[in-house]
Amino acid sequence: MALSREQIAMRVAQEFKDGSYVNLGIGIPTLAANYVSDDISVMLQSENGLLGMGRYPDEDEVDADMINAGKETVTASIGASIFSSAESFAMIRGGHVDFTVLGAFEVDQQGNIASWMIPGKLVKGMGGAMDLVAGAKNIIVTMTHADKHGNSKLLEQCKLPLTGVNCITHIITDLALLEIKDSAFYLRERAPGVTVDEIREKTAGKLVVEGDIPEMRF
C-alpha cells in the first residue's frame, strides 16, 4: 500500500545520521523532524538564518523576530546559532549541510530536479531551493511516485524547467526508495505491500532492480 505523508517522512528520518545538519523543505520534508530516532541527534538548518531550529513556540513564546524559512513562528534549540542570509547560504553553498530534503514536480535519471516552475502557471519563485540543491552533500527528494493522473514523476529527462542538475541522489516516494546513479533509478526498497511491478509501471525513467528488493521497515 502506498505510504502516507507521515510514513514518507518517517522513512526520510531513518536516513539521518547522528550529528547530521539537515535542511528540510516545506511540506513532507518538515514532517521528518518529528520522526528522528531518539538514539540520534540532528540539527535543523533554516535558510533564513537559523541553525538549531527548535519546536514551535507556546502561545506566550511567540516572537515575530523568530521565524523559520517557511515564515512560521518557531523557537531556537539550546546551542542554536543565528546569522545573516549570506552566512546561511555560505553554509549551504559551501557544502556544510549534510542533508537537504525537498519536494519536486519531477526528477530524472541524471539526478536533475524540477520543483519550482510550471510554464503557463504563475511563478512564485525558487526561494532557496536552487542554492540547496547546488550545495548540500546529500539531497533527498520526497514526492508521490506519479501524479494524480498516474503519470510518472521519475523520468528519463525532466520536462519542466530545472531547479538543479546532477544533484539528486535519493528519492523517497509513496511507493519506493530509489537511488540515482549511473543515469538510472536503482530500486532499493519497496513500500510495504507494493510490488516491484507496480513501481516499474509507474517509473518512466530507466529503473534498475538488483536482486530481491526489501520492504521498508518502520
Binding site: P57, D65, V123
Partner: protein, 233 residues
C-alpha cells in the same frame, strides 16, 4: 564626534534624496525584520519607477506590498513573491517586471556589492532558467555561472538597536538580509527599535559597523506575523 551622529528625527530626513527610478535594496525576510516606517515613507513620497531588491515583496497591504498599491515599483528583484495577490495581478498585466534570483545568490549579490566585488561564480542556477545567458565556467570539473553584484541608490534596513555612530545589532532571525543590504546602499538608512549610547553594544558583537550606515531613525513597529504557528496548534 558631531560628524558621526547619524541619527535623524523624521522619516522625511531619513529618506531625503530618494527619487523616481532609483534602486532600493531592502532587508527583511517575509515580514520579519522589515523597515516598516521607511517603507511607509517611500509610499508617502510617491516616488515611482523604483527597482526594489528584496527577498520578498511583502503581502497585500503590508511591508513592501504597499508600494504596489500606487504602482511605485517598476521592477522587483526577489527570490520568492508568492504571498501577494496585487503583485500577481500587476505582473500578469505587464505593469511590473520581476527578476527571480535564488535566495543565496541574492544574499551574495548584495554582500558582493557592498564589498567591492563586481562578480562571482556559483553553481546555483547552472542548467536552469536562472543560468540562461550567463557565462559558464568550470572549476575543478564542475560548471559554475557568473553572477554580478548588486548595489542600490538607497538601502533600507531594520535593526534592533543602533548607536548614533550607526553601529547596529539585529534581533534573532530578523537579521536575515539586513546586514548585506546595509553594505550595499550608496545611502544606507537604518530604522531601529532603540537607539543606545556608543559603547553599549560590545565592539565584537556589533553586526553592522557604523561605517556602512548614513542615517539612523527610531521607528515604531507593528511586526506583523505571517504564519503564527504554536505548539498546541
Amino acid at each position: 564626534m558631531a560628524g558621526f551622529n547619524k541619527v535623524v528625527s523624521s522619516y522625511e530626513q531619513a529618506m531625503a534624496g530618494l527619487e523616481n527610478d532609483m534602486t532600493v535594496i531592502a532587508g527583511g525576510f517575509g515580514l520579519c525584520g522589515i523597515p516598516e516606517g521607511l517603507i511607509g515613507q517611500i509610499k508617502k513620497m510617491g516616488v515611482s519607477g523604483l527597482t526594489v531588491v528584496s527577498n520578498n515583496c511583502g503581502v497585500d497591504g503590508f511591508g513592501l506590498g504597499i508600494l504596489l498599491e500606487d504602482k511605485q515599483i517598476k521592477k522587483m528583484v526577489a527570490s520568492y513573491v508568492g504571498e501577494n495577490a496585487l503583485f500577481e495581478k500587476q505582473l500578469l498585466n505587464g505593469e511590473l517586471e520581476v527578476e527571480l534570483t535564488p535566495q543565496g545568490t541574492l544574499a551574495e549579490k548584495m554582500r558582493a556589492g557592498g564589498a567591492g566585488i563586481p562578480a562571482f561564480f556559483t553553481a546555483t542556477g547552472y542548467g536552469t532558467p536562472v543560468g540562461e545567458g550567463k557565462e559558464v565556467r568550470e572549476f575543478n570539473g564542475r560548471p559554475y555561472i557568473m553572477e554580478e553584484s548588486i548595489t542600490g541608490d538607497f538601502a533600507i534596513v531594520k535593526a534592533w538597536k543602533a548607536d548614533r555612530y550607526g553601529n547596529c545589532i539585529y534581533r534573532h532571525t530578523a537579521q536575515n538580509f539586513n546586514p548585506m543590504a546595509a553594505t550595499a546602499g550608496k545611502i544606507t538608512v537604518v530604522e531601529v527599535e532603540e537607539i543606545v549610547e556608543p559603547g553599549e553594544i560590545p565592539p565584537s558583537q556589533i553586526h553592522t559597523p557604523g561605517i556602512y550606515v548614513d542615517r539612523v531613525i527610531k521607528g515604531t513597529f507593528e511586526k506583523r506575523i505571517e504564519r503564527k504557528v504554536t505548539r498546541s496548534a
